[in-house]
């Protein structure tokens, strides 16, 4: 598999780095303090390819903590980080569908 770092990085606007947590698969976001958070609000936002590459290489280096790190688009609206596409909306907010009722 080619490492995501070997791929050409092209970003068109505000971006973040996201992955899944190794132990349980939960969606996580790379934070500015070189850690991970399950809240997109905590994500470190980058604006150009160099920053994105730096953030991604830190993320990829944490192979024990996270799996499949990649750069994803976001929109920052009045300081609030919003996922930049439907896929990321679904990852951040969960399913868009109604499920069969399951007893609590």
């Amino acid at each position: 598999m080619t490492s995501p770092l070997q791929q050409k990085i092209k970003i068109t606007g505000a971006s973040i780095v996201t992955a899944n947590r190794t132990g349980d698969g939960v969606v996580i976001y790379r934070t500015a303090d070189k850690s991970w958070s399950s809240r997109i609000a905590d994500a470190s936002v980058v604006h150009n390819a160099d920053e994105a590459r730096a953030l991604l290489s830190e993320a990829v280096a944490d192979d024990v903590g996270a799996i499949g790190a990649y750069i994803a688009p976001v929109e920052v609206i009045e300081g609030k980080i919003e996922p930049g596409n439907l896929r990321e909306h679904i990852r951040s907010e969960g399913l868009t569908i109604e499920l069969l009722p399951v007893p609590a």
Partner: protein, 551 residues
């Protein structure tokens, strides 16, 4: 039911402890994800958008009640209380933690089930007719052959690293419920002129990016030779199949590029050298496997018991009976389909409570056996007709008696963008909206047989190419769009659907389907001309005109 032997139990248990060790090493950082990925995939563990996903095989779609209870237990204990039955006689769990996967697999191993060969470039779970062994007119129980092939292909060293995944399906009925024509190998059990039983062998079917209907490579292969013949196909594929391009690696591409005659000749040459070797099947081996399938001790029962006569006055019962209950090969018994397609819910999902209740009902009314079909429904294969009213009341209570089997709301849908990391667009909410639009059972019955199949990307896990109406999610400028095909079918007359025109946005899909259905109702020659028959007779143009006239 089939009784597994010690070899299977040891193999499955050893695999679980091996995987437990691998997960430990992954969590401690001893194994990188690159190293671990192929190990987890060998056990059916994928990564989806929100979590890991575990895919568990249900060999030839047959489950015992203890197995179904165990599937329920895994859903409740390690997942979010539900599981998703797929088009490949598998169940998928969407929320399992990696750290808990070894425990889940150990619990499943206790009843002989596992996730091996549900992923990777090997021979996958072998699928068959969900009515195998009980369908009237069936030549013999195809599960015997699925089991022989399962034993042959399990951890087969030569075929664990094929150019690409390999799917085999078997049917023994005239009406193909196993979609054999869209599999890498399709086997149709038939009799020859001498009255011997054997197989018509089809090869090179498949969906995905480049869909093909399988072609007959050999009209008749006798029982004794089926393993050697299948192996000859696999050897030719293993040798010539493309490994340089994942999109061209399936056997269908090889068959297409070589042409079926040339491919058949290669197979024949290979086969003639080995047909009398170790793979020639001994009658005793076949009989041993046959003897491990047990059937209930059927009683002599009335085909029209008093219980049924009394209950038929209830129109809801009568509607369900007409829709979900099929004739059995034994007089006085029926095959009952349990719809996992309630209005407004994800197709194929079942909760742990439903699974437990179905297991209990199987014990009470169906000799402890449950079947899983590729249409993402379940079936109880051995129900005495006198028990149908009581069974119906119980099924209705747990929400699996929607009388929509084979109707427009019996939708096949892949997980799509709600779960799947490969998806372009969502599938499930489209299905949910359509089931609401056509929720009225009288309307659905008036429309008649109509299969809608939905995939969230070109991989076609939702069989969209062969849906009577097929819906394929694509992405355009970050928006979900859907291509609509009509006239496809997956049965013995399998055919790919034809695109009706440009893709339509998410919000329009249900309206477009309504337009297509209205056009059909206006165009059909008689009330019993089915949708696919009308499309066959008239082509796509009148439907296209109707859909795009206002768009």
């Amino acid at each position: 039911m089939y009784a597994y032997d010690e070899i299977d139990r040891t193999l499955v248990n050893e695999r679980v402890s091996e995987f437990r060790d691998q997960v430990q090493r992954r969590l401690s950082g001893e194994l990188t994800e690159d190293e671990f990925k192929s190990l987890r995939l060998m056990n059916g563990v994928y990564l989806q958008l929100h979590a890991y996903m575990l895919r568990v095989a249900i060999p030839y779609g047959t489950l015992s009640s203890p197995q179904l209870r165990k599937l329920a237990h895994v859903a409740r204990r390690y997942d979010r209380g539900y599981g998703h039955f797929t088009t490949r006689q598998n169940i998928q769990y969407n929320w399992i933690k990696l750290s808990e996967l070894p425990d889940a697999l150990e619990d499943l191993a206790a009843v002989g089930i596992h996730g091996m060969q549900t992923s990777g470039n090997c021979i996958r779970n072998i699928t068959t007719d969900q009515w195998a062994g009980v369908a009237p007119g069936e030549i013999e129980d195809p599960r015997i052959w699925a089991e022989i092939l399962r034993q042959y292909s399990t951890l087969h060293p030569e075929f664990s690293f094929l150019p690409r995944k390999f799917k085999i399906a078997i049917t023994a009925s005239d009406h193909d419920r196993a979609a054999i024509k869209i599999h890498d190998i399709g086997l149709r059990i038939r009799k020859n002129e001498q009255g011997e039983t054997g197989f018509e062998v089809l090869v090179g079917g498949g969906l995905g990016r480049t869909p093909f209907i399988g072609k007959t490579i050999k009209q008749f292969v006798v029982h004794r030779d089926i393993l050697s013949y299948v192996e000859a196909i696999l050897r030719v594929y293993n040798q010539y199949g493309r490994r340089d391009n994942i999109y061209k690696a399936r056997i269908k591409i090889l068959v297409h590029e070589l042409g079926i005659e040339k491919f058949a000749q290669e197979v024949e040459d290979e086969w003639l050298q080995m047909r009398d070797g170790v793979l020639a099947l001994d009658d005793a081996v076949v009989e041993d496997i046959r003897s491990r399938f047990s059937y209930p001790a059927y009683q002599k029962l009335s085909d029209n018991p008093d219980e049924m006569k009394a209950a038929s006055a209830d129109p809801r019962f009568a509607m369900w009976l007409g829709n979900s209950v099929a004739p059995h090969r034994v007089t006085g018994y029926s095959i009952v389909t349990l719809s996992l397609k309630p209005v407004g819910m994800p197709p194929g999902d079942a909760t742990a409570e439903q699974m437990d209740a179905i297991a209990d009902l199987a014990d009470k009314y169906s000799s402890g056996e449950i079947r899983v079909g590729h249409e993402q429904n379940l079936a109880l294969p051995n129900v005495a007709k006198r028990d149908l009213p009581a069974l119906w009341r119980a099924l209705d209570k747990i929400g699996v008696a929607t009388p929509n089997v084979n109707l427009i709301t019996d939708i096949i849908a892949c997980p799509g963008l709600d779960y799947c990391s490969l998806a372009n667009a969502r599938s499930i909410p489209i299905a949910q909206e359509l089931t609401k639009r056509f929720a009225d059972p009288d309307l659905a019955n008036m429309i008649g047989k109509l299969h809608i199949n939905i995939s969230g990307c070109i991989n076609a896990c939702g069989h969209h190419h062969v849906g009577h109406i097929g819906i394929l999610g694509v992405e355009k400028n970050n928006e979900e769009f859907y291509q609509i095909t009509i006239g496809g079918r997956a049965d013995e007359q399998a055919e790919m659907g034809t695109l009706i025109g440009p893709a339509v946005p998410y919000a329009d899909v249900a309206d477009v389907v309504e337009d297509i259905v209205e056009a059909y109702l206006a165009l059909r020659a008689r009330p019993d001309e089915t949708f696919v028959e009308t499309v066959k007779r008239l082509g796509v143009t009148p439907f296209k005109e109707r859909v795009y006239a206002t768009r």
